[in-house]
């Protein structure tokens, strides 16, 4: 079953999303900040069971631990740097147009407005169905 890395600092949103995805059959590992997310990703790569996709929140604590606007963008760049073909979906509470554009420019496959878990699921299913 595809393995997904979910990074979001809002615990309730993170947990709810994780449950929705797991119920849909995906294996989901969740992290609450950028550093933890990167650590889990690297560990999975090293352990031979890499992630097939990443879902990243944009606004969350950065690598230095402080709250940073758009810290998710940096994590995105690092993940894409490690694996250029990794599908990444950006999770956004606001529709932050410029940041989303930035994310797409950095290699994100799409974005999803939080609270629309069903459409997120549809999006993920569509990506995994791609030939």
């Amino acid at each position: 079953m595809p393995k997904i890395l979910l990074v979001d600092d809002e615990p309730l949103i993170q947990r709810s999303m994780q449950k929705t995805l797991m119920r849909a059959g995906y294996t989901v590992e969740a992290a609450g900040n950028c550093a933890d997310g990167l650590k889990r990703f690297e560990a999975a790569e090293a352990g031979g069971a890499p992630f097939d996709m990443a879902l990243l929140d944009l606004n969350m604590p950065g690598f230095d631990g402080g709250e940073a606007s758009g810290a998710g963008l940096e994590l995105l760049s690092r993940l894409i740097g490690l694996r250029p073909d990794l599908p990444v979906i950006i999770l956004t509470a606001y529709d932050e147009v410029s940041k989303v554009k930035d994310a797409v420019g950095r290699g994100a496959r799409g974005y999803c407005v939080k609270g629309r878990e069903q459409s997120l699921l549809d999006q993920i299913n569509a990506i995994f169905k791609e030939p």
Partner: protein, 631 residues
């Protein structure tokens, strides 16, 4: 020797050097009196009665010979000696004929001059041969001189009379100029002290009437279309009545006001009857009139009209002064308009700032609430799924004969749930008595009403969905835009068509061949959908509801102006600013989240356009949207 006993000599001579020389030569033996011109010489002679009078012949005013003739009548016994540089023939004879008894020639010989004088004092007399002939010649000369003097005097008198006339005229002109200056000064004072345009124009026409003593002055301003000049201020009762009744003159017509505006120059009718110009029914008895264009910074704003009950009442001077005045008025009108624009800009800025502050606060709040509400729909869905699964599981077990249940594959799962319930739920809830008074110990209390649970879940889900929908409505305008060329009239047609309003309500007028705009057609369509929807809701229960949608090039051709107007009840002025604020709604409990107009503002702002509203209580509301044409 006693100076008083010395003979007194009077020397009448206009050249100071000559007087000084004679004084020096004669001073030792004579008392020398001096006069520098003929008249003072005669006066001095009469006062001092000198023993001998030396006369220069070539004097200004009167010649020496005329002085001699005069002195001969005043002082018949005086001794007159001509003393002249005149060596022309007959100079001696002419001098002797005038009454002199001797003729000494310049330059004087210092050695003999005192003796020559003494000889005359001693009784020497030069005799003139042909006395009568020379006398006659001299008299003729005198008459001629007299005539010449008379002519000169007459000429002077005439010149004086002419100068007098000139002066009178100048005084009149100066007085008038002064009055014009005073009028201009008063008007400029008025202009700098009054900021309200209507009051300024009223005072200006009154001042002009007063200063020029004319029955009527009026100021016309061009209407928005520039097709006619509307009287904005008029003097007196007639003026007030004309203003009240919307008196106007077509710019294209042959009125003085129309021509002045069209030709950008003063138009004058010296004689209204002779020119067969039309009479203004409000102003009977007008015999001459003029109009001066009000030329502003870059355009004609209107005209100043002045009317008199006198023929040809306005001189070139008047017109020049009035034109200066008209220019001042034009400047004042420009200023007043600038001030009004400034007020409006300020107002708009304040509105935008207020809107931004409120939008930010509500935006942050909504973001937070939306974030917190984000998991609710999914959680609810899972609870419903799990609840139905649980019921299905219990149903399956219940369907088994009691002794067979522990063998059923679902049994361990059911036991695990019961164990968890025993662990997590307080006993009084678990074994509670609500509805089941004698529930056996160890048995889970199952709420009897599944429908109620499902309904509650639906309510939770619905509420969360509403919160999320509002969140997206509020921040929706900043969704990713799909920019494309938009033919605005087509988009408007489509939007109106999709709204499906009753026939006859919507009236459209779209200019042909409009340039396209650039934007997100879904968003722009949403704006007009919103405006038309608002208009339709404002028209609820009104007779003959009418919504007019127009689209044409704005005054600034860089923009398309779309207007949505209704004939509804209008928005009270005190609410006019609040309509832009999120969550403000006039619809009471008739629905509407109050996000519509604030979303419209956000969308139009993002499209670099402008949205504004004008409303008149009882007459309706017009929303105007400016959108930049694509480059």
């Amino acid at each position: 020797m006693d100076p008083k006993s010395l003979p007194k000599i009077l020397y009448i001579e206009d050249t100071p050097a000559a007087r000084a020389l004679v004084r020096r030569v004669l001073a030792r033996d004579f008392v020398v009196l001096e006069a520098e011109d003929a008249l003072s010489g005669i006066e001095l002679a009469i006062q001092t009665r000198p023993d001998l009078i030396l006369l220069d012949i070539n004097l200004p005013q009167l010649s020496g010979r005329e002085v001699a003739a005069r002195l001969k009548t005043q002082l018949p016994n005086s001794l007159l000696i001509a003393f002249s540089a005149d060596t022309s023939p007959k100079a001696r004879e002419r001098a002797l004929a005038s009454g002199c008894v001797g003729y000494l020639t310049k330059p004087l010989d210092v050695d003999i001059f005192p003796d020559q004088i003494r000889e005359f004092l001693g009784g020497k007399r030069e005799i003139l041969a042909d006395q009568a002939v020379h006398q006659k010649a001299f008299e003729a000369e005198l008459v001629e001189r007299l005539e010449e003097k008379v002519r000169e005097l007459t000429k002077t008198a005439e010149r004086n009379a002419y100068l007098n006339e000139q002066n009178k005229h100048l005084v009149v002109v100066l007085r008038r100029r002064q009055r014009l200056l005073e009028a201009a000064a008063r008007v400029s004072q008025v202009i700098t002290s009054i900021l309200d345009l209507d009051e300024l124009l009223r005072v200006t026409v009154d001042v002009i009437c007063e200063e020029y003593g004319i029955p009527f002055a009026g100021i016309f301003l061009l209407d928005a279309a520039g097709e006619s000049a509307v009287l904005r201020a008029g003097s007196g009762e007639a003026g007030a009545r004309m203003v009240a009744e919307g008196y106007r003159r077509p710019v294209g017509g042959d009125s003085t006001v129309g021509s002045a505006i069209r030709q950008r120059s003063a138009t004058l009718i010296r004689d209204v009857d002779a020119a067969q110009a039309s009479h203004n029914p409000y102003l009977p008895g007008i015999r001459s009139r003029a109009a001066l264009p009000l030329i502003g910074k870059d355009a004609v704003l209107g005209a100043l009209s002045v009317q008199s009950d006198q023929l040809d009442a306005f001189s070139d001077d008047d017109l020049a002064a009035l034109q200066t005045l008209a220019s001042q008025v034009a400047v004042a009108i420009n200023n007043a308009q600038l001030l009004r624009d400034l007020h409006q800009a300020n107002h708009e800025l304040l509105r935008t700032k207020t809107f931004q502050a409120i939008a930010q606060t509500t935006g942050e709040t909504i973001h937070w609430v939306g974030n917190k509400a984000a998991p609710i729909p999914s959680c609810t869905r899972r609870v419903r799924e799990d609840l139905l699964a649980l019921i299905g599981m219990l149903q399956t077990l219940m369907d088994q004969p009691p002794e067979g249940r522990p063998q059923h594959p679902l049994w361990p799962a059911a036991q695990a749930i019961f164990d968890a319930a025993r662990r997590d739920v307080p006993p009084e809830r678990l074994y509670g008595s609500a509805g089941g008074t004698d529930a056996p110990a160890g048995r889970l209390y199952v709420p009897p009403d599944l429908e109620s649970i499902l309904e509650d879940l639906a309510i939770i889900e619905q509420s969360a969905a509403t919160i999320l929908a509002i969140k997206e409505d509020l921040i929706g305008p900043v969704r990713l835009q799909h920019l494309a060329e938009i033919e605005l009239p087509a988009l408007l047609e489509q939007t109106l068509f999709e709204m499906g309003l009753p026939p006859g309500v919507v009236h459209t007028h779209f200019a042909a061949d409009l340039p396209s705009i650039r934007g997100d057609s879904r968003q722009i369509g949403q704006v007009f959908n919103n405006l038309v929807k608002n208009a339709w809701e404002a028209l609820a229960g009104r007779p003959q509801p009418r919504i007019t949608v127009t689209c044409h090039l704005a005054d600034d051709p860089q923009y398309l102006l779309t207007q949505v107007a209704d004939n509804g009840p209008g928005i009270p002025p005190e609410l006019l600013d609040k309509i832009w604020v999120s969550f403000f709604t006039t619809k009471g409990d008739r629905g509407g989240t109050g996000l519509g107009l604030s979303a419209c503002v956000a969308i139009i702002n993002q499209a670099e356009g402008k949205i504004s509203v004008e409303s008149q209580a009882g007459a309706g509301t017009t929303f105007s949207v400016l959108l930049p044409v694509s480059k």
